[in-house]
């Protein structure tokens, strides 16, 4: 069976290459974080294992890393929750009520999600300045909610469509209001989908860069991506060891979430982009 073995070889080769492709930079990052000097690949240099980089970024007084982490998690978490909530309301309306122009609205929302962030950021900056909210949590949370809404909406619509209308009818007969039906019946049934949506919204908000770059001025509200991009460290020259340590710590929650919920994430993304 020549063809089958050829296929097997190609597949295994492909799988190995894929894993290498995805994991090599990641491994390099972790390795540098744990090494005494970032130049261990240079001729004549050795690899020295150390945890000092991690210690520095986590505990040094001038390192705001922990604060950045806190900011990022809180901001992305709140944004994700609000985004999912608003999207759930909207998705419910679009799938249960005869919203005039509902399909068009969905497409408009989709188009809106394609706007380049740079075309929003200068005005957002002025708006936040006017509100006095520069460098606060809300300056980032609210735009992030809006930013993740299109994706959340699309995913939830696709999940809600699959929830049978009979459940709604049963609730209505029992005298429940629409809101109660949504919260007590639909959401629990579509819980996996809701969870996927929240997870994706969290990841998108967590990784966002431009808004965070322009709407924050210091560690008070700055998020991790900006913190790492601007990382100067303690010794003038680019402190690769510390940057990679910071990058590693940053990616830990993300990687853990991804590993555990990979199925959810994938199903959410495919529903959001490929319409079923």
């Amino acid at each position: 069976m020549g063809e089958e073995t050829l296929k097997k070889i190609l597949l295994t080769g492909g799988a190995v290459l894929t894993i290498l492709f995805a994991m090599l930079p990641f491994t390099y990052m972790v390795a540098t974080g744990l090494s005494t000097g970032a130049d261990f690949l240079q001729q004549g240099q050795d690899y020295g294992f150390t945890l000092s980089n991690f210690a520095t970024i986590l505990f040094a007084e001038s390192s705001h890393f922990v604060r950045y982490m806190l900011n990022s998690i809180v901001i992305s978490g709140i944004a994700a929750v609000i985004s999912v909530f608003c999207a759930a309301l909207g998705a419910y309306a679009l799938t249960r009520f005869q919203v005039p122009g509902g399909a068009v609205l969905m497409l408009i929302v989709l188009a809106i999600s394609m706007f380049p962030p740079v075309s929003l950021v200068s005005y957002l900056f002025k708006f936040m300045t006017w509100l006095g909210w520069i460098n606060t949590y809300q300056a980032l949370i609210l735009p992030y909610v809006a930013w993740t809404l299109p994706l959340s909406l699309w995913i939830l619509v696709s999940y809600f469509k699959q929830v049978p209308l009979e459940l709604d009818k049963a609730g209505l007969i029992d005298g429940a209001s629409r809101l109660q039906i949504l919260v007590k019946i639909i959401l629990p049934v579509a819980a996996p989908g809701v969870f996927s949506t929240a997870l994706l919204a969290f990841i998108f908000a967590f990784n966002e860069f431009l808004f965070a770059l322009m709407l924050t001025t210091d560690f008070t509200a700055r998020t991790i991506p900006v913190g790492i991009a601007l990382f100067q460290g303690i010794h003038g020259q680019i402190p690769w060891g510390e940057i990679m340590a910071a990058a590693t710590v940053t990616t830990i929650p993300v990687v853990v979430l991804t590993l555990i919920f990979q199925r959810r994430i994938i199903s959410g993304l495919t529903r959001g982009a490929v319409k079923e």
């Binding site: 001038s62 900056f125 606060t136 001025t217 010794h235 020259q237």
Partner: protein, 436 residues
């Protein structure tokens, strides 16, 4: 559905209250902690911050005003962005901050600075104040330390390069550096003759101006009020900078991708270079106990192009008070303290910086400790500031792009300079144009 019982109501109400409380706490976390003092934004290496801590403690002890240090990135571009965002959004913090001298023009024109009318202008170098800090008759900023580009060289290798004294012209420097590099390379393959700041940032323009000499640079045209860069001296400078990397090969290829102040300093300090162009701050570090080149470093004025005069670009940081500060009086007091003899002494001692106060350069005790201050007083007085125009940053951005492009050999020096001039002209035209 049945109506809720008492238990359910209690549960729901407390649940909602808890949620509200969490949200409130989180919003509170997002805001600045309530400050009773002023916020002082300053960036730089940790040794600098440690020195500032000392200054701040003394001020607090003497005045009773508490000061919080806000650490900015060491990268000056990021410092600028941080300050600009704060100013543009009219934030009350920082109240007082350090600015690169190149930004003072912009900040003054944008109306972001509070006049420092409580400062006595006498002790400063008058020419410098006039050129940079005084805007429309008022003192908007005060120099904390002065900087001028310097040439560092290895005293132990000077003879090997065929010189008895530091080079007077750029050509002399290149030739002697070549000789030394040839000598050192067999044992030390990482050795390079000359390291300077060539990465794509403001420092590149600073270096460029020094390579161009007195007849080059960014010339302000009095008639049109515009800026001229398409000068023969600039062309020569561009060619020379490019040749340093690709023709003489005495500067490493990473010059135009990575070399900023600290990279250059550590390169020279590790013993791998003959000449270094850097600011005065490097001196103290080169002479520190753990420096491999301790005792073997000399400083000299920068060389000049053939037949021209040497130019040292004026650098340094000035202190300014934000127009949006909520504690202007205290901030101004702090600014006055930072430029007082006492505080200036501290930064000189801790960091080896050249004080912003002119009168300190005649101070006996200071000269005893840092004899070279006397030598370089004139250099710094004559150091050339970058043009104090509100749109200097944009001009610098244009120049950075084209100079960097030349160094990367993406463009010829002629084309680069011509294009830079075109873009700058267009820029100026755009700002001058009347509304339709």
């Amino acid at each position: 559905m049945k109506g809720p019982d008492l238990y359910t109501i209690r549960r729901r109400v407390s649940g909602r209250l808890l949620l509200l409380l969490c949200l409130a706490m989180l919003f509170a976390c997002g805001k600045d902690d309530a400050q009773t003092g002023i916020v002082f934004a300053v960036g730089g290496a940790p040794s600098e911050l440690a020195a500032w801590e000392k200054v701040v403690r003394k001020f607090e002890a003497e005045s009773g005003i508490s000061v919080r240090l806000l650490r900015q990135p060491a990268n000056s571009q990021q410092q600028l962005q941080g300050l600009m965002v704060a100013m543009k959004s009219e934030q009350e913090n920082p109240d007082v901050f350090l600015m690169d001298v190149a930004w003072v023009g912009l900040f003054s024109a944008a109306g972001w600075l509070e006049p420092l009318d409580n400062l006595d202008q006498g002790p400063f170098f008058q020419e410098l104040l006039q050129q940079t800090d005084i805007y429309e008759g008022a003192l908007m900023a005060a120099p904390v330390y002065l900087d001028g580009g310097l040439l560092y060289y290895r005293t132990d290798l000077l003879e090997a390069g065929g010189l008895s004294a530091p080079p007077q012209t750029w050509r002399e420097l290149a030739e002697s550096a070549e000789k030394v590099q040839e000598l050192m390379r067999p044992e030390n393959p990482d050795f390079f003759g000359f390291v300077w700041q060539g990465a794509q940032y403001e420092g590149l323009v600073v270096n460029f101006l020094e390579f161009a000499g007195a007849s080059g640079g960014i010339q302000l045209q009095n008639e049109t009020g515009g800026v001229r860069v398409a000068l023969e001296a600039n062309l020569e400078a561009l060619r020379f900078m490019r040749d340093l990397i690709w023709d003489y090969e005495i500067s490493p290829p990473s010059t135009y991708t990575e070399m900023q102040e600290e990279e250059v300093r550590t390169f020279f300090q590790s013993g791998n270079a003959m000449y270094e162009r850097n600011w005065p701050y490097a001196w103290a570090l080169h002479q520190s106990d753990d420096s491999p080149v301790k005792g073997r470093v000399g400083i000299a004025p920068l060389p000049a192009p053939e037949g021209d005069q040497s130019v040292s670009t004026l650098g340094g940081y000035h202190i300014g008070v934000s127009k949006y500060s909520d504690r202007k009086a205290d901030a101004k007091k702090f600014a006055a303290y930072v430029t007082s003899k006492e505080a200036q002494w501290m930064v000189v001692l801790e960091l080896g910086w050249n004080p912003g106060r002119g009168d300190l350069y005649e101070d006996e005790a200071l000269l005893e400790r840092y004899p070279h201050f006397g030598e370089f007083k004139d250099i710094f007085r004559k150091a050339r500031p970058r043009p104090v125009i509100p749109y200097y940053i944009q001009v610098s951005n244009v120049l950075q792009t084209y100079i960097s492009g030349t160094l990367a050999r993406n463009r010829s020096p002629e084309a680069a300079l011509a294009r830079a001039q075109t873009e700058i002209d267009s820029l100026e035209k755009r700002y001058r144009e009347e509304a339709p």
